[in-house]
Symmetry: D2
């Protein structure tokens, strides 16, 4: 069993990491930190873990955690993550950072959308943790920047198509909707049940922080600057993202051509599920799994391609992908601990 630890385990990505590690055949959780819940058993804070993972939350800092772990998951807010990276790497542990701190390769872009970067020297070393596109580099990485949840849903749909020249890089629109766990586990008025339940609305409509991250990777794929129109919405569910993407087909590319491109690129990918004609993604079918469901149709009136991409924002959109990255970095089977299927219903 390989020892791993979690910095910041009291949020939803933290508990999702614990759920996945508890049943992982080769990872053993040696410590998980939380200032708020220091000393409390993790199963008192998260009853679902009872009997499966009964260690207490620790107040240890990143460097101390790194001493008893070969890999540390950073499930802390941006800024806190970057502060932890140098000492963890110095202690010889690898890092999967679930925050945004090392996702953006361009320092001014990071500082425009987030905050001043105190650890820019590691940006270049960090590998962007989308295994379907960067698997080789992830295997050798010390520091992996785990992608954003919306981002993963959009990139898995569009990157292969931009690379293959099947969609125009101009005019891309991603209309996305997410379950509320994407906003984290914190006591905020806009997150209470009475405000979210039985409701649906857009938010952050003139600028969501996932936008530059998507544009960075889409531009790389297209070989030119891509600007994305992105609109997130809040769903009255806990988990799940569906991105409905509008793209102009390049050279009259058909849905069949899109599917063939995906099939070629994603052949053998365990977590990318390509749905056949007439089948559409559903957030419920990927709940709690590390899967992405993809489908495409052509709008008969406008000719636009409509591309649908569903995933669980906490699993493939965060902690599941983090474990997938960890598996690669530690030389394990990439799917280890990640083959759970969604419940029906």
């Amino acid at each position: 069993m390989i020892p791993v630890a979690i910095l910041g385990g009291s949020g939803y990505t933290g508990v999702e990491l614990m759920r996945l590690i508890a049943n992982h055949p080769q990872l053993k959780l040696t410590a998980v930190s939380s200032r708020q819940f220091e000393g409390q058993p993790v199963s008192r804070v998260f009853g679902a873990l009872e009997g499966a993972l009964d260690l207490p939350f620790s107040a240890a800092e990143a460097g101390a955690l790194a001493k008893n772990a070969r890999l540390l998951f950073l499930a802390v807010p941006h800024q806190t993550a970057m502060a932890a990276v140098p000492e963890v790497l110095a202690a010889g542990a690898k890092v999967v950072d679930l925050s945004a701190d090392f996702r953006l390769r361009d320092l001014p872009t990071y500082e425009k959308w987030y905050a001043p970067h105190t650890c820019p020297e590691f940006i270049k070393e960090a590998v962007y943790g989308l295994p379907e596109f960067y698997r080789g580099r992830i295997k050798d990485a010390r520091l992996v920047a785990n992608p954003g949840c919306y981002v993963t849903s959009v990139l898995t749909a569009l990157v292969p198509l931009l690379k293959a020249g099947l969609v125009e890089p101009d005019g891309l629109i991603a209309n996305s909707a997410s379950g509320v766990s994407g906003a984290g586990r914190s006591a905020k008025l806009n997150l209470i049940h009475g405000e979210v339940h039985d409701n649906y609305k857009a938010y952050a409509v003139t600028g969501h922080r996932h936008t530059p991250e998507m544009e960075q990777e889409l531009s790389l794929a297209a070989g030119q600057e891509v600007r994305l129109t992105f609109t997130p919405h809040l769903l009255p569910i806990d988990r799940g993202i569906l991105s409905t993407i509008y793209a102009r087909p390049a050279g009259g590319a058909s849905p069949e051509a899109v599917r063939e491109c995906w099939q070629a690129v994603y052949a053998g990918e365990p977590f990318i599920r390509l749905l056949g004609p007439g089948v559409l993604p559903a957030t419920k079918e990927v709940r709690g799994t590390n899967r992405v469901q993809l489908a495409v149709v052509a709008d008969p009136r406008s000719g636009l391609l409509k591309i649908f991409s569903a995933l669980d924002n906490l699993t493939k959109g965060a902690s599941g992908q983090a474990v997938q990255n960890a598996n690669l970095m530690l030389g394990l089977d990439e799917t280890a601990g990640l083959l759970d299927l969604a419940c029906t219903p």
Copy 2:
């Protein structure tokens, strides 16, 4: 009190009509028909009506119902509605038809999207029942075609802007999401709780029947043919539609210009609620009301206008709008019985 009746009262638009009529200050429900529930008190089928509306479901046909009513609401499927219209009008009653049978002015379009029309001679007479645009003609109409739910959300947003030349008629996209009551009250596997709850997905992505209806009215407003890319989605809520609309601003029209246009067109409109900068529509805030909430922003990356339009699919999207039309046709205050506010939460 003015006598009115309902043909087909066992569905969700039927019970919504009953809810609104039960507390209407000037309408009295003389009969409501249902073959399935003939003879049963309406309050046994719909417990919420108990003590407020205790007549039994009748098996009477449209003509018989029309004899004891000055206006008949047709809350039956398309095809059934058209069959009832001639005898109702012959009996001297007015008609608000909640089906699609008289919404499309072009017969071939109707027959392409729906079925053969057995009563085309009334298409020309029928008035499209969106009071905010056709109020004058509705007041004098014998037969009003009550608009579709998605349609109302899109038209209230776009018609004024197309008329004013503030948005380009090309490239319009409506990404809409609806609560499941829009699919009616019927025992279908895809409507059961286990399939809908905690789920989100698109449907009818290559052609929903509301498309030609939207295009008809948008084209009239634009003075040229408009083709709309429309994608409906299913929300795990009972009631509510949010349409997120993408439009290219004509001549660089700003969100402020859009708001000014709406303010001018909708001045004094009781049911159109224009939200100020920084405020976005929420389906929960219009639940059970006859309101439409509208808002607009410009996407800073693409320059596209993002327009948000929320309503309750059963109220302003169906039965509330039907009562609004009936109020106009019967010479009553247009808001009578329609001023309920949404519950919070």
Copy 3:
């Protein structure tokens, strides 16, 4: 129009009062206070009120509010309410207190379950605001203590039966479940969507503050001390309480006898809905209404009576009942502004 005001309008009982008053034919809201939202229009905090009630939240104290109101609703926490009562009454305004401060007639009981009472001299004057039992006294009251939500569901079911000697006062059990709005509108971790959605559990199982209030009134009805076993549960809905009550029939009283008793006591009561044999209450059928639904069966195995009582915790369980009390205190029709029906679905 009669001027009324609300002390503490930023919670769910506050906004429910505003919803009901906005459409009340004879009440006009002159002011509503909130320290947190001072100066903001109420419709910015609660979008559902937009266009119907556009005054700003005030920072005025109770005494100042009372000067421009004939009646003040206290929608503040216990302790805060009692501090406001003397100056409001001194200013000549009547009071409906939605807190617990004047519900318990026995001072030590209050102080055991809540906190020291700073205003005990008004306890005797306060009238318990359950109109179905105390209508006469409420009409003449200056100070009405509006009952608790669970309490109203249990008392409407049991008080007539205890008075009539149809159930034994020993061994009563109330197994209740409530929507989460009963816990108020506050930023607490246990109220966020992720904790409440798709979940069901009991809470406060060894002592909920509504227990002494129920026992007080049940004991008065029984003419002897009644001890109640009460277990509240949290439902993943916003609004609604269902109490499932187990009672031993006295002298072999049948469900028919129970229904006859209720029918006699509740004849003409507009808000008490007695369901016939084979029909059971449903929280959805009373959502947003001032109704209580009651039903009874006998368990064929144990002979116990099972009594079911449903209401909306924010309407008949709080603010609707408060308006009902205000109507009585101000000489208005008791049902004014309170006849809304629940939406289906």
Copy 4:
């Protein structure tokens, strides 16, 4: 890998069996039958299974299925199950029957609550499939009657206490609430989203078929006839049961005594989770798992014990328990394939 098959795989217990078998380390699904979906891949009907279990639904009868399986799961309605048993056993396969057909040891009781029994000769052989109480006999059984969902929640709570004489066998009350998947996957009006969502109500209040099954086992445990007052309720969630049980402590038994009894009886049980003082079961914490959560308190007013028991009606309440039984019958590790934890949130 041991070949197993499912008779009747198109319902929710069928798909739950498939979910569990798909990731089971030692079971291989050779066939699953459904008349309705014959020939369709299971993953077209249940998208969550895509890529993990891609066999088509078969129209084969039980006897044919048994030829290629060492064990057959019967996930068909009662009456259909009993008709299949003789030929399956004759073909040499073992049977886990998820229906009620062999749960009741007393033939007249079965026929009173269900229907005429066409296969009574196997009732005596059938072993009641609650492994925590009948593990030894299950290991040797050819035919196991898998318990009802409500039943499992009540028996795991009460059987040890009745055996130990810690609760009185008279006056037991089980107030239970279940997610709607317990009613199966069928196109019925009372199961559609609009009827279930945002609602809560009781049903089957004068006689649910799980009552005689509970009474049978409780009576065996108590050594005397036990009559149970049982009231099921419908929750607006898909999965989960919470039973709130009221019991009189025998000889003043304390909650601590109850916990000690459970600890002794359930020591080493992997699926029975005993919650400490101050912690209460929550359906969400056992969702998709084979766990039962148990807790107990004493009501300070009545002295009654309140016992709380939570499980997932489709997993420990049906298909998970069926796999647990199959593991025992096939000589496998009892927990194989059953250690998944619930997602948070």
